[in-house]
Structure formats: C-alpha cells, structure tokens
C-alpha cells in the first residue's frame, strides 16, 4: 500500500521538536475558574428565578442591612489591590515587601470572614426560615468557602515568598500569580453577589 511509505517521508522531514512548551498551568487555572464561575451562575439563576416566581409567604423576614456587606465589598476590593502590590514587589525582587503585602491581604480576607460571621449571627432569620434565607446562606456560604480557601492559600504563599529560602521568587512567579487570579475571581463573584443579593 502506498500511503504508509509516503507518511514515513513526512516523518523524516520534520524539524527538531523543541523540548520546551510554554506554560499552560495558568490556562488550566482559567478553565477551572470558568467552571467554578458556572457553579455560581447556577446559584444566581436559581436565586433570580425564585425571586421572580416564588413570592415569600406573608410575614417572612428577609430584610438585609447594608453597612456590613458594603464594608465587606470595600475590604475585598482593597485586598485585590494589595495583592496586586505584592505581585509588583516580587517582580522587583523585593521579597519582604511582597510578603508584607500578602499578609495584609490575608488579614483583609480574615476580617471579611469575621464580618460575614458577625452578619450571620445578627441576621433575624436562620437557614431554614424561608426560601430567601436558604438561598442567601447558600450563596454567601459558598462564596465564604472560596474566601476561606483563598486566605489559606495566601498565607501559604506569603510564607513561601520569604527571603532567601522561599520557593516563590521573581523567577518562579506562578504560585503567586495563580492565587492572585483566583483572588480577583472571588472578588468579582462577590461584587456580582452583592449587587444581586443586597442591592436588587
């Protein structure tokens, strides 16, 4: 048969394959975040549908106070900025600066979580009180889980950016960049969540 021989010819005439590939871990992370975002999209869709077609029974309590979530929004937005600073500092090989910014970011994350818990404890409704309450806790809880995870990762990378012995340096930025992207994503979700849940 003719075909095989000719394909061998192609094979021989190929140039050296380069041994190096560009980095595709970031690409994988972005894909993962799209998937994660779809989970939230599902929750948001469910929440909006409930709002549109399932009126709450009379007397149901669904009032939300704005101050704490607004503070939380600001906290997260600021933390995104501080994280960005950390990246910038690392790029300039200022590891200890970077570490400081990271710890500040983690600190902001922790305050966010504390505020969130504070809000939970002072809300006039519990998880199973009504449909709004359940959706509220499910959405903010799922987001809070993301923040918790993010804060832990920030603490880990801030330890890894320590001078001299840390693994994360300006030559190995990936872990920091990955967590940064994740953190911005979590912020973005919060902003949408804040608009839909509190403002709408």
């Amino acid at each position: 048969m003719t075909t095989l021989d000719s394909s061998k010819e192609i094979q021989k005439s190929t140039p050296e394959v380069s041994k190096n590939h560009e980095d595709f871990r970031m690409f994988g992370l972005v894909t993962f975040l799209i998937a994660d975002g779809m989970t939230f999209a599902g929750f948001f869709a469910a929440y909006l549908t409930y709002k549109a077609v399932n009126p709450l029974p009379e007397g149901a309590i669904y009032e939300l106070e704005l101050p704490i979530p607004t503070l939380n929004t600001i906290l997260l937005l600021v933390s995104s900025a501080t994280f960005h600073k950390a990246g910038k500092a690392l790029l300039k090989d200022k590891n200890s600066d970077s570490q400081k910014w990271l710890i500040l970011t983690a600190f902001l994350g922790i305050i966010f979580l504390i505020c969130q818990l504070f809000e939970y404890f002072h809300l006039p409704f519990g998880l199973t009180d009504n449909l709004f309450a359940s959706t509220f806790y499910a959405l903010t809880g799922f987001h809070g889980l993301h923040v918790t995870l993010g804060t832990l990762m920030i603490l880990i990378i801030s330890w890894q950016t320590r001078l001299n012995t840390g693994r994360i340096t300006s030559k190995n930025m990936f872990p920091l960049e990955a967590v940064e992207l994740y953190w911005h994503f979590v912020d973005g979700i919060w902003v949408i969540l804040f608009i839909i849940l509190y403002l709408l």
Binding site: L4, S6, I10, G28, A46, T49, L131, S134
Partner: protein, 544 residues
C-alpha cells in the same frame, strides 16, 4: 516559565512501578490511565448490564414478581447512573481521550498528568460507594434524574450517597475536561495547526467545553438538593415554599449537554475509524469541525425539551422545540459526510467497520425519534413512556456503545500489539445488532400505546411485546461472551499485529505497538494530513 519534557520524564520514571502492577497504581502515564479508565468502565458496564438484565427479567411478566417494587426502582436508578456516569462518560472521554489525544497533538503526555491520575482515581471509589449504598438502607430510588420532592422523601442515606458519588464523578469529569482543553490547545506539537488535528481532537475539545460549562451547574444543583435532604431547607420542597421546576431546569441544563458529552466523542472516534477502513480521506473536514461546534452551541440551549409536560409557558415550549429540532442539521451534516466517506472507498468489512456502520444506522433511527420528541404536541403523549426509553437506548447503546466496541476492535492492536479474532468479532456484532434491535425497537410501540417508564408492573396486553424485548436483552447479554472470549484468546496468544496493521496515517500508528513510555523513540512526527488516504496521495505529498 517553562516546563521541560525532560523533567516530566524524570517524574515518570520515579513514580511508576513496572509491569502489570502499574495498572493498579497512581500512574502518570496517559496510556496507563487510558487503559485504567477502559477496564474500570467495562467492569461497571457489566454491573450496569446485570442490573438491566434484572429489569428485563422483571418486565417479562406483567406482575411485579421478580423484584420488590422499591428494589426495582433502585435497580433502574443504579442502572441509569452507572451506565451514564461510570461507563459511557469515563470510557468515551477518559479512556480513548487519554490514550489518543497526546498522540494526536504530538505530546508525550497530557498537560497535567497528576490531575489526570486524580481524575481517574476518583472514579472507582465513588462507583463502589454508589453500589455499596444498596446494602445500607437501599440505594437511591428516584431515577437517575432524582426529581424532588420524591428524592427528598425517599430513604435518605441512599440518596445522599448517590449525590456524593455523582458529585465526585462530576469533579472527575471537570478535571478531565480541563486537561483535554489544555492539552489540545496548549500542548500541540510546534508546527501543528488546529485545522490539521484528527477529528477526535475537535470532538474532545467540544465535549470538554460542554463539560466545563455545564457540569458545575449540576454540582451546584446537587449541593442544594443535599441541603434540602439533610438540613431541611426548602429550595426544591414545595411544602417549604420551594420550587421543583427550578431543579428540573438546573438539572437538564447539565443533563442535556451530558447527552452530547456521551455522543460527541463517539462522533470523533467514528471519524477516525471510517477513513482508515475505507481507505478514503474523511469527507468534508471543515464542515465536520463546524458542525461539532454547532452542536456544542445548540446543545447548551435546548434543555427544556425534557420538561414539556411540567407547566412551562407556551413561548418557552416553542423556543425549545425549534432549537432542539435544529440540532438535526449539524448532526445530519456529520452523518451525510460519513456516508460520503464510505462512498467510493475500498472498504474492508471487519468488526470495526461493521460496528461503525451499525452505529450510523442505529443513531439515525434514534435521532429521528429524537426530532419527533422535540415537537411539543408529539412529546405530550409520549413523554415518560417507553418511547423515550427506546429513543435514548437507540442513541446511547446503538450509538455510543457500538462505537466503543468498534473502537476496541480498531485500537486493540495499538494497545497490545495483538490482533483480535475477526470471526468472533463478527459473531459479536451480529448477536449485538440483532439483540439490540429486538430489545429496543418494540419499546416504541409500547410507549405509544400506553406503557409508562419506570414501572415494575404493567397491563397484561403488553406482555408479549415486553417478552420480545426481554429476549433481545438476553441476546445482548450473550453477545458479551464472544467479545470477552475474543479478548482473552487474543491476549493469551493472539496473532502479532505489527506496528500498523491497518496502514493508518494518524499519528498514534506511527510508533511501535504497543508504544514506548514516552510515545515516540525520537521526536513526535508532524502529521499535517491525518486523512491523506487515496490513490493520488503519494503524488500530492511529493509536492509538499
């Protein structure tokens, strides 16, 4: 930042036991993982098939006599879940995807080998857990769709275990999907363009997009459902003010794309098999690519055709009817192109070819009943009847499972270096094809005439037709025997196949069979024309 292949290589050698033991280990080799998926999936197929056999035995008589009614419901739930999440999805995506994609893109492994191994090792425990739930308090018994409020009110432990294992399996398929997208887009050998990839890569790219976009929604939905069960929230519980139709929307937003997750990879596989055995280029490569993407896009916006009887507003019904019907167009393009690939070829009629042609015939039939189902007024009568059961078995069994068998006959020599016996293969095909049609064709009539699905007992006037169907199921069960014997004989002392028994041009055949650990002794070949068959082929290539 770069990752060098050499480093990957070191990892491999460090982490991999040798010999048969590596198939039971956390191996990072994509070929080993592919085989792990295949074997694991096939074992679950036997379990799911055994459950199906029990269902068909029960349905051989109108009374509920072989299984208690609730056990019947557990069996059909497990059957549906196992067949979809532990057999079809892991095998057409995981098994063939892992084995073939790195060859096709000219890589030595998948983009994320470790993630890949994790994705596989999520499967056996969640499958075993699912089956074990039967022995606790009874398995889940609300069907594979788990519609609330039924799923909230049935015994809880089975339903919760069902949710957990489906979540894990969903996670596994998301990890797999991320890996495939990254491998196909980022890990391509330099010089290889997207439009030069074998069709299976395109199919897997489309499938993985669907996985990444829709599976997380299922995960979210099941999390809410589990809250309803354990924490007594009321998302889907009307007693507590919830809305059951929201569950259906969210569920089908995943589960309709899931049917394309089950069939697009099969479309890809058949596009590899037909050109090789008919010695012709794949007809209409470009339109094939566009039609896959068309199916992906349309597949995301047709979910409500499963809910025509559940009180959706008229305009919505109409929209989903039209959108669903239009899926026939890109799908049709693919089928016409395959027939055109056969046309004028030099066709070797072997087991792989026969199963592929059986696939075309069965799928066209199932697709046409699908288009009928998409018409609201038609669906009103046959929704939730055996007509639907017949429709989807024509597609999942007559379509995807036929292609899985076809692919096993086609790639067995690649994986083992041994040929499978042709005689047994053709016997396997004949019994499967006859048994399959005998089993599922009569079910259309049952549905039209008043037999609902998911029942253990039915009107005596349906007994005769049900018995025909059960005989068909028996034949399908028997047909696995020649297949297993064939595999066994061939592994023991099969004929050596040589490196490239089919004289195929796709890259996986341009190395030894079975392939070496790093896929190629030297560099990966650059195959720009994976379907360059045909008499004028050699002249044309001289010019390049």
């Amino acid at each position: 930042m770069t990752i060098s292949i050499d480093r990957q290589k070191d990892n491999h050698q460090r982490l991999q036991p040798n010999g048969w033991l590596r198939y039971f280990s956390f191996s990072l080799d994509h070929k080993v993982i592919g085989i792990q998926y295949m074997v694991c999936g096939f074992l679950f197929y036997l379990i799911g098939g055994t459950l199906a056999s029990a269902i068909r035995i029960e349905l051989a008589s109108p009374m509920s006599d072989f299984l208690p009614r609730d056990v019947y419901n557990q069996f059909l739930t497990l059957h549906g879940t196992i067949m979809i999440f532990l057999w079809i999805v892991p095998v057409v995506n995981g098994a063939f995807g892992n084995y073939l994609i790195p060859f096709y893109v000219g890589a030595r492994d998948m983009a994320f080998p470790r993630l890949n191994a994790v994705a596989f090792w999520l499967i056996p425990p969640s499958g075993l857990m699912l089956i074990a739930s039967y022995f606790v308090e009874g398995a889940a018994q609300s069907g594979w769709t788990a519609y609330p409020p039924l799923s909230i009110t049935t015994p809880q432990s089975g339903q919760i275990i069902w949710i957990i294992s489906v979540l894990l399996l969903g996670g596994s398929s998301i990890f797999g999907g991320i890996n495939f997208i990254a491998t196909i887009i980022k890990l391509r050998r330099p010089g290889l363009k997207l439009m030069q990839l074998p069709m299976y890569c395109w199919a897997m790219l489309g499938t993985s997009l669907l996985v990444v976009l829709s599976t997380p929604v299922l995960a979210g939905t099941l999390i809410l459902l589990s809250f309803d069960i354990v924490a007594h929230t009321g998302f889907f519980n009307p007693v507590l003010g919830g809305n059951v139709v929201v569950y259906q929307h969210l569920f089908w937003f995943y589960s309709h794309p899931a049917v394309y997750i089950m069939v697009l990879p099969a479309f890809g596989l058949v596009s590899e098999i037909l050109p090789v055995h008919s010695r012709k280029p794949l007809f209409g490569y470009t339109t094939m690519v566009y039609s896959i993407m068309g199916i992906v896009v349309l597949g995301l916006v047709v979910w409500a055709h499963h809910m025509f009887t559940s009180g959706t507003p008229p305009w919505m019904r109409l929209f989903f009817t039209i959108a669903t019907s239009f899926i026939a167009v890109p799908t049709g393009i693919k089928f016409f192109n395959w027939v055109a690939t056969l046309w004028g070829g030099k066709i070797s009629i072997n087991s792989a070819m026969l199963f592929s042609c059986g696939f075309i015939i069965n799928f066209v039939f199932g697709g046409i009943t699908g288009v009928a189902l998409a018409q609201v007024p038609f669906d009103i009568h046959v929704h939730d009847t055996y007509f639907v059961v017949a429709h989807f078995h024509y597609i999942v069994y007559g379509g995807t499972v036929f292609i899985i068998f076809s692919s096993i006959y086609h790639w067995f020599p690649k994986v083992t270096g041994k040929m499978l016996g042709e005689k047994l293969g053709i016997i396997h095909f004949a019994i499967t094809f006859i048994g399959f049609n005998l089993c599922f064709a009569p079910q259309h009539w049952l549905g039209l005439n008043g037999m609902p699905r998911r029942v253990a007992e039915y009107d005596p006037q349906f007994q005769f037709v049900n018995q025909i169907s059960s005989i068909g199921a028996l034949l399908m069960a028997i047909s696995t025997i020649p297949f297993l014997v064939n595999i066994f004989l061939s592994v023991r002392n099969g004929k050596d196949s040589g490196d490239n028994p089919w004289n195929a041009l796709t890259p996986e055949w341009l190395t030894s069979s079975p392939p070496p650990v790093e896929n190629w002794e030297g560099d990966a070949p650059l195959v720009v024309e994976p379907y360059g068959y045909g008499d004028s082929f050699s002249q044309k290539n001289k010019k390049i």
